[in-house]
Structures are given as structure tokens and as C-alpha cells.
């Protein structure tokens, strides 16, 4: 990869739980969207 040959060993970036990284990224973003939505409802309900 670079001049030192620092290529990651096989499996070094394997996603956990047998899932894909894309799925984990989507979970993080959806979690954020849900929190924003919940807080918006919270704000509206107690205004």
C-alpha cells in the first residue's frame, strides 16, 4: 500500500457480527435521525 508496505492483514477490517460496514454506517445515521425526530417531537410537545 505505501512505501513501508503497511498493508493491513487479511480480515483486519472485517465487519463485526457478520454484517456489512454499510449496514453499520446506516444504523449510526438512522439512530441520529431518530434522535433528532424524537427531540423535535419532545420540543413541540412541551413548548
Amino acid at each position: 500500500m505505501d512505501e513501508r508496505g503497511g498493508v493491513a492483514p487479511r480480515g483486519d477490517d472485517a465487519p463485526p457480527f457478520g454484517r456489512s460496514w454499510t449496514l453499520l454506517y446506516v444504523i449510526v445515521v438512522v439512530n441520529l435521525a431518530l434522535w433528532i425526530a424524537a427531540l423535535a417531537v419532545f420540543t413541540g410537545a412541551y413548548r
Partner: protein, 569 residues
Amino acid sequence: MSGLDWAVLVGALAFFVVYGVLRGGRDKSVEGYLLAGRKMRWGTITLSIMATQASAITFLSTPGQAYADGMRFVQFYFGLPLAMVVLSISAVPLYHRLKVYTAYEYLERRFDAKTRTLAASLFLVQRGLAVGLTIYAPSLILSVILGWDVRLVTALIAGLVVIYTTTGGTRAVSRTQAIQMLVIWFGMAAALATVAALIPADVSFFDAVRLAGDAGRLNAIDTHFDLTNRYNLWSGLIGGTFLALSYFGADQSQVQRYLSGRSITESRMGLLANGLFKVPMQFVILFIGVSVFAFYQLTPPPLFFNPVESARVRASANGERFAAIETRHAQAADEQARRARTLVRARHSGDVAAEAGARQALDQARTETARLRQEGVDLIAATRPGVPTSDTNYVFLWFVVHRLPAGIVGLVLAAVFAASMSSSSAELNALASTTVVDVYRRFIRPVADERHYIRVSRLATVMWTGFALLFAEWLSRLGSLVEAVNILGSLFYGTILGIFLAAFYLRRATGTAVFVSATVGEATVIACYAFTPVSFLWYNVVGCVVVVLLAWVLSGRRAAARQVSATPF
């Protein structure tokens, strides 16, 4: 403080130090000392990352901010999960594969020595000053509320941290941070549960929180776009993303945490879990502040939460006048609490007209209480010109010390110390790493054995601790400058992020072009700070965009072939 509180606090502090020393290991390699041998699991990395960011001032000031201003500060963290995803895709695999010790080391592989040195210098200046504030700010609050000597508290925190950070390096810092973060969570949970239990029995916790909502304290989301408004959805999502990208991708105090991961998977998971937990954690901390506000809707609060300043005014020529205002304020707060209960009863009765009338009566009482408080604050300012007239930072600790039961006070104080120690240990650890890797080994002594670099790393940790203490001493003489120093980070983060984004994504960018762009970008940010009302979160966007665009324009079409391998894609 009771004997039980002292036992909990002293026991926790002693445990942190002993645990850090014992779990630090005895590394004989630089990689072992500075990166924990790259053996860390993602759970430890997550706790370590969160503990580094959550300083004691966050833990103390955030509830006070919710008390005074509501929950809108939570929006500040909305960009963080997005940044975690971007960094997991780009920075993490790149840093791991290049096996760098610091983020700045990567810049020399990608560009040249001067760009690396510029970024490392910006980090050392900004973080070197910040670590003094990390230790000093909570020490000041603890000293005001508990009557302790601020120098003693500052020296105590620095002294405890330097023991295990110096002996055990990154392994000690990360493993201790994991424990400290658990203590912080436990302290937060205990504080929230106790506040809820302290709400007077004739009003439910739910009704009390609704009272806080009536007063505008549950304003978590603000969708109105305004560049001068510090916290709204857009500044949080856009400015917050840039800030988090810079902080987690280019600030060695965070990069070092996930560089210690045993694989790309462990480091990525550490960041992503932080992205999942951060917003809820900040929500809970802010909600503690809202709960304290709800409590004081039903129980009269003090006129001013800084007892030292109140005492000084009482002892001055204005003492009698101040005492009279305090008495009137207490009476107004009593009346306000009575009307709050009337509103709660009206709500339960289902009588809409009665509810509207009770709400109006409560609003009038709140206005009167606020007017009297402002009268008292104005008198404080007139008595001692120049003293800070904001008591936001003291609200939570004042409440803890005066209202929470024995044992819980000690636990919350242990959490405050844990937060201060966890942040400062990571900062000192990162400052030492950058000093040794990017300055000492790069320019002063490129060839030496591993033991020599470990000795120098330990010495650098002690030296940066000494610098932090000296800066804290200076801050204690210039209290009003604390806020200005707090904004210091945002003056540099945009530029540093621009350098790294140019490195990651502009394949044809050259070192000289990026160096010039960074200089112009920094000047632009400073001009924004000096001459415009733009809120500081946007500095991160401005600095970054200027650096990236200018680097793109200045760089020729010729791609630097040797540098291509150091870009993520």
C-alpha cells in the same frame, strides 16, 4: 461533605491511580508506550474516546447551561455521528495501514515536512493551552462551591494524572479512562435519579418537567437558520460535523485513542459506538439540568449560585441592600412556586380557562423573580466591577452539595474528578507523543534506541503537566479570559481539518500549495473572529473550505505520483 462522601471520593481517586499504574504495563517499545502496542478492543476505545471528550467542565457546565438556556446545546453534537462514519471510511484504514504514531506523521508521507510541522505546531499550541483549562476550570468551580484552595485542587488533579500517565503511557490512560467513564455514567444516573426523587411529593416528576417546558427549557430543536445563533439544527449538523471531523480526525488526543486499536475493525467500532452513544449521553446530562430547573420551580433557589461572590457583596457597603434583594427574591420565588402548583392542579382539572389563567399568573411571577435576580446581579457587578456575572457553571455543583444525600455527593464529585482526569490524561499523553514523534525524533534525534524515546516521552509528559499548571496559574489571575481561551480551539480546527481533507481527497494537492492555503485559511478564520458576528461553530467550516478550495486552485494538474498511495481512495 460527610465522612461517607470523603470516603467515596478518596477511594475513587486512589483506585484510579493504582489501577492506572497496575494496568499500564511495562512497555519497552515506543509502540507499546505510545499506542498500547496496538492491542486495544473496541469497547475500551469507545469509552476512552468518550472520556477524552467529556471533560469535567462539560459535566459541570452543561446542566447549568440547560438550567439557564434550555436543551438547545444538544444540537452541538448532531454532526458527531456523521463525522464518525466519514472517519471510519477514510481516516481509520489510512492511519492503520500507514502504521503512523500521530496524525501529523501522515502529513509528511502525503505532503512534506513543513506541512506536518505546521499541523503538529497548531495542535501543540492549541491543545497545550487547552489542557491547562481542562484542569483549571473544574478546580475553580470546586474551590468556589466547596471552599477548597484552587491551587491545591489543580495540583491534586495534575499530580494524580501524571503518576499513571507517565508510568503506563497510553495503555494506562485508555484502561483508566474506561473505568472513569463508567464512574461518570454511574454518577450521572445517580444524580438524575436523586433529582427526580427530590421533586416535592405533591407534584409528579412529569408535571415538574412540563413546568420546565413552559419556561422554554425543553427547546432541544431549533430549525431557524441563523449564522449568529450558536446552537441550532443547521449549525449543529454542518458546523458540528466539521468540528467533529477535525477533533476526531486530526487532533492527536483523539486519534491516539483509536490508533491503539488492534485492527481497523476495532478502531472503527470504537468510533461508531461513540457515534451511537454521544447524543443520548449529552441529552441525559442536559436533562439533569432541566430537572434541577424543574426542582427550583417548586422550591426557592438562591439569588446567585456563586456563593463566594454573594458573600463578598454581603460583606461590602452594599451588603444590606443585597440582603434586602435576596429576601424579596425568596418571597417572589415562593409565590412563583405556589402559582406553579396552581397551574399543575388546573391542568389536572381539565379546566382550560383555569389553566390559561394559572399559566399567565405563573409567567408574571417568573418575570418578577427574574427581575429581582437581575437586580441582585447588577448590584454584584456594581460592587465588584469586572467580576463574572454568570453563575451558570455553579448551578449544578451548588445543587449537588446542598441538596443531594451523603454518599451521592461523594459519587458525583468522584465523577467530576474522573472527567477532569480522563480528559487531561489523554491530552498530556497526546502532547507527549506529538512532541516526541513529530519534533524530537523528526528533527532533534532521529536515531536512538526504544528505551531512550520512552524516557523522553515520560519527560515530555511531565513537562507538559508543568506547562498546564503554569497556564492554570495564569488563568487564575485572568478569570474573565477563560471563555476566550475556550474558543481558541475553533480558531484552529477548521484549518487543520482543511489540511487533512486536502490530503485525503485532493490527489493532486502539493505540500507547498496546502501550506500556503493553510496560512491563508487561518488568517481568514482570525478575521472572521475579529471582524464578524459569525458564531464560532462556523469557523470550522470557513477555515476548512478556504484551505481545501485554495489548495485545489493552487495545485497544478500534475499529480504527485508518490503521494497517491497515501490517499484513502
